[in-house]
């Protein structure tokens, strides 16, 4: 009984932590794809950029960890604004196929550039001592880094939810997404609004890449390798909602961990089988309003 309880606590904790990693790296995509309706497959590029900014500022410039994380968010957000103005905005009205082809092309270019600049080996993450080792709680040890991830992601989802659901900016974004022409006609500057929203989504991706760098290795093929997880989280959660991807990430994290723990021989399949089952049951995702 004690062993069962202990393993349940372990699974819940590791599952939530893994879910949070999935959520932080995917939340940016749920902003650009869910709110703006743009199929940005190059999302992982921004996450990877955040990861590289973190590892370089920790390793090469020896900056403190919180500063490095902040830099990852800021620099990626600013860089993405330039991309948005120069490239992305031309595709807002385009079909999904054009958006997919365009963003896949961006991935190829980003992979080649990352290989050229950083080489093919993964980047070491020089974590500060307070994030290493274990964190004792209620007589059990929990990995400190994962505790930190859960706390930070929890704060992030609260802030994001508040911003979109409870502020004027959130109301304007939702209005512009639902009916751009009408939003413009009542005086909302949708051009500026979308640029800012896009920067926020990409900045969050950079933040996710930075926070998750210790668990999801930063190396040039990052945007391709993890695309499947971003898309799974966003599609299972449902487009046009912020709480959907959160619930989806938690669900996938916990059930994947449980399956790997109890039935390791089936561990690899579970995440995909569950995705297919959920999408068959609800094609719009758990909380989605549109396909």
């Amino acid at each position: 009984m004690d062993a069962l309880l202990s393993s349940l606590v372990s699974i819940a904790f590791h599952g939530v932590a893994y879910g949070m990693v999935l959520y932080v790296i995917s939340v940016g995509l749920s902003v650009t794809m869910g709110l703006m309706g743009f199929v940005n497959l190059a999302h992982g590029v921004f996450a990877m950029a955040g990861g590289y900014i973190l590892t370089s500022s920790l390793g090469r410039f020896a900056l403190p960890f919180p500063v490095a994380v902040g830099l990852a968010f800021l620099l990626v957000a600013i860089g993405s604004m330039a991309l948005e103005r120069g490239l992305y905005r031309h595709f807002y009205g385009a079909g999904e196929l054009e958006q997919v082809l365009f963003t896949i092309g961006l991935i190829f270019m980003a992979v080649a550039i990352a290989q050229l600049v950083f080489g093919t080996l993964q980047q070491p993450v020089a974590l500060p001592p307070w994030l290493k080792g274990q964190f004792p709680l209620l007589g059990r040890d929990f990995p400190a880094y994962r505790v930190f991830l859960i706390v930070v992601s929890g704060a992030m989802i609260a802030a994001l939810w508040f911003g979109v659901e409870r502020t004027l900016w959130g109301a304007m974004v939702r209005a512009a997404v639902d009916n751009r022409a009408m939003a413009q006609s009542i005086g909302i500057n949708t051009r500026q609004l979308f640029a800012l929203t896009f920067a926020l989504g990409s900045g969050l991706a950079g933040l996710g890449g930075a926070l998750g760098a210790e668990i999801i290795a930063v190396q040039p093929t990052y945007p391709f390798e993890h695309l499947i997880y971003f898309l799974t989280v966003v599609s299972v959660g449902g487009l046009g909602s912020l709480r959907g991807p959160f619930v989806a990430a938690l669900f996938i994290g916990v059930s994947d961990t449980a399956c790997k723990y109890w039935l390791p021989q089936f561990g690899a399949f579970f995440i995909y089988a569950a995705t297919i089952a959920i999408l068959l049951w609800r094609p719009t995702g758990l909380f989605g309003t549109r396909v």
Partner: protein, 399 residues
């Protein structure tokens, strides 16, 4: 008309004289070198290439008078047997090479081996370690290693140290070979395998597996995971969950902590115990000279891993055969020379080719990852086995 005919005959005769004269004064041996220069396997392919180029730079002129070596380099693009077979065919038919060497991947070597049996081309694997490949061609020989060579003695050693071991390997052929070799030796020595898990190759989170290992309370966890981000991730999970503090040792073949990727792994790798035939930190004089030459050529911060040594020793063997045969390569005589090959001072220590199986005979060392002079190193702490033949072939002789 008549003049023209006479002229033709004269020219023909003259050119025959010229041609034979040419072949007496300069004998050119063609060597095909196959590695991976593009795709996800390019970092390992680059290591193989560096070993090959280093050998050519340092020893490319150590030939009998009048003999020249021409190398032809090809890219197999990754674990891709169809491409490997096609480029090997081109090397044999069009370029008329007399040796094939290089080859990172087992499936590629397995696709090339039957061709070399048919065309009678000596084929020396500089890396591909699939244990049964030598049985596919009598013209195949290997200077690299097999996973049995590392994992079998590690299992024997572990049986004296530990009672209960959990195995966790990547779910692909090398992982299965490592698991089988270790398990057999460990059980023969009286050890108990308390659990075995095979982990999918594309797996972002190792924590659930490591938690499972921790809850089984073994004395050690044996693992084979390809070096790089996967191996780093499993070591991080091992450290994060405090398996080290729970008294569980992390052991495996040297593929886990290759010398070139070790620096990127960071402190999580400290204390990992591996068995392997080569470490850049080995203190043999031949190795010190080799590492110094490598650093001089490619940069102070780089370390040669076992891929580099494999390619270097493969070229050493090719050149040895060329010297023995004075540049006149007859495939069967070449194989006779290869079967008698002994090199007392490879960077990894003494090596030889087993005449029965044409596989490598070498020492296996037990190493621990330690910090030496500010960098991580696989420090050799004891010699597990000397002049070890591939244990799998001793158990499974060719009928």
């Amino acid at each position: 008309m008549k003049v023209a005919r006479i002229l033709t005959v004269v020219v023909a005769l003259f050119s025959v004289v010229l041609f034979t004269g040419h072949s007496v004064s300069a004998q050119t041996v063609k060597v095909g070198f196959i590695s991976t220069y593009s795709g996800a396997g390019a970092p390992q392919g680059d290591q193989l290439d560096k070993g090959f180029k280093l050998f050519m730079k340092l020893n490319g002129d150590k030939l009998p008078p009048g003999v020249k070596v021409e190398t032809i380099v090809r890219d197999d693009t990754g674990p891709n047997p169809e491409t490997a077979k096609r480029i090997a065919q081109e090397l044999i038919v069009r370029d008329k090479v007399q040796f094939i060497t290089g080859v990172l991947w087992t499936p590629n070597a397995a696709a090339i081996a039957p061709l070399t049996a048919e065309a009678k081309i000596p084929f020396i694997s500089a890396n591909a370690a699939g244990v049964a490949i030598p049985y596919a061609s009598p013209y195949f020989a290997r200077v690299s290693f097999t996973l049995w060579q590392a994992c079998y003695p590690l299992g024997q050693w572990s049986a004296k140290k530990f009672k209960r071991v959990y195995t966790a390997v990547s779910d692909f052929a090398p992982g299965h070979e490592a698991e089988e070799a270790f398990t057999k030796a460990f059980k023969e020595g009286g050890g108990e395998i308390v659990g075995a898990v095979r982990i999918p190759l594309a797996n972002p989170d190792f924590v659930p597996y490591m938690q499972r290992v921790k809850d089984a309370k073994p004395d050690a966890v044996f693992s084979f995971i390809p070096a790089g981000k996967q191996a780093t991730a499993i070591m991080k999970a091992y450290g994060d969950l405090g398996l080290d503090k729970a008294g569980i040792k992390f052991i495996g073949p040297g593929d886990l902590t290759t010398d070139d990727e070790l620096q990127g792994m960071g402190d999580v790798a400290l204390g990992v115990i591996t068995a392997h035939h080569y470490s850049a930190a080995g203190d043999r004089p031949a190795n010190k000279a080799f590492v110094a030459a490598y650093k001089k050529e490619y940069g102070e911060k780089l370390f040669p891993g076992f891929f580099v040594v494999g390619a270097y020793d493969a070229m050493e063997l090719v050149f040895h055969v060329i010297r023995e045969l004075k540049g006149k390569i007859d495939p069967d005589r070449a194989m006779e020379v290869i079967k008698q090959y002994k090199n007392p001072s490879s960077p990894r220590g003494p090596i030889a080719i087993d005449p029965e199986t044409r596989d490598i005979v070498q020492n296996e060392y037990l190493r621990e990852v330690r910090r030496v002079g500010g960098v991580l190193a696989n420090v050799e702490i004891e010699t597990l086995a000397t002049a070890l033949k591939d244990p799998w072939k001793q158990l499974h002789p060719k009928k």
